[in-house]
Symmetry: C2
């Protein structure tokens, strides 16, 4: 099977390939939360053996995107409503602390990288592209804060936020104030205004919180 098709992958990139593919499919909700992941079919689809597929699943499990059931198939992690409160809580804190640190420590190179992401965000048209660009933008801001622990956690939370956005597209569909919020946040980081950056980061997640609540009221999940 492995040699049947495919441009004879180089040794070592098989796991990354499966990991990236599964990750995208999970975040785009192509794979529904709770749906099982069949190692064999996935391996056959990618013309490789089960070994790298299993390794990728283990990695995704430690990132929280899949849940392994012992002696059963692994499933895509569910989007739990009881998890919503701690999620928004942690997202708010990480946005605030990374924005503060970015305002404090950013270099000119950081600002340039952030502006590239911002430009990419304004060009994004689909909900999915906006979600990806938004993640990259905030990851760049966190990177300017120079604390990999915060960056890692924020990226994980932004991944979960992407699934929420795909579940409730109306929270991001018009998104007119998203850009102006970003612009204001960038201005605060540029001028090293820590208090203002903190305030705007708080407002950013507050916006998400109210939009989600509105959406849940309009489209209750029951």
């Amino acid at each position: 099977m492995p040699g049947d098709e495919g441009p004879r992958r180089r040794r070592g990139e098989g796991v990354d390939l499966v990991h990236a593919l599964l990750r995208e499919e999970i975040l785009d909700l192509v794979r529904a939360p709770g749906s099982p992941i069949d190692e064999i079919h996935l391996a056959q689809r990618l013309f490789m053996s089960r070994t790298p597929v299993r390794a990728a699943i283990v990695r995704l499990a430690s990132e929280g995107l899949v849940t392994v059931l012992p002696n059963r198939s692994a499933i895509v992690s569910t989007v739990d409503l009881v998890n919503l409160r701690p999620f928004l809580e942690a997202l708010t804190l990480m946005h605030r602390v990374t924005a503060r640190l970015a305002a404090e420590r950013r270099t000119e190179a950081d600002l340039a990288a952030i502006r590239v992401c911002q430009a990419r965000f304004t060009r994004a048209r689909s909900v999915r592209d906006r979600a990806i660009a938004d993640r990259e933008l905030h990851a760049a801001i966190a990177g300017a804060g120079r604390n990999p622990y915060y960056t890692t956690l924020l990226c994980r939370l932004l991944d979960e936020e992407r699934r929420l956005w795909c579940l409730h597209p109306s929270t991001v569909d018009p998104h007119p104030e998203g850009m102006s919020q970003h612009e204001a946040l960038l201005a605060a980081i540029t001028s090293r205004d820590i208090a203002q950056a903190d305030h705007l980061a708080q407002a950013h997640t507050l916006h998400l919180r109210t939009a989600l609540a509105q959406d849940l009221r309009r489209h209750p999940p029951f």
Copy 2:
């Protein structure tokens, strides 16, 4: 080899076994930071095949305890001095936020569990046992805060702190104020005094910070 010895492990617990063993050896500095991990020898030592060993290494890599070099052997993650500032920064924030939330949300059952950990901490005699008990205690406090994101990150940071303690034992060896600090923190959480819990959590890491600085001055790593 697999059936040679060992009480015929049940299916599925092999990976957990290797993971737990490697984790302990890494945190106790039995395996030096930067030292390579030989899958084959480890598998032979535990009377199992390389497959579960590899799975455990992948898990440890995603937890940050080992670093996999592509097409090379995995190595124990190094304790980097340039990482010390973000580490202490994140540790302080996580201690503060988990203590605040614990003071806000703790139940009677939480208090009972925390007190069990505290009792275990006072009974601990060796540096290693104290480090383990300290981790369990703060994990219990974080658990009372009801935010798994904070709990996960704090536990990861406490693991790294354990390696620091083993590298610089003098920071914890006498440790007379550690217990009174814990007692005061527990009192604040019990009486739901959020501001006081925050303040004490901050003092807790400040103590670690100054002790580490003192120790680094006495025993410079060069």
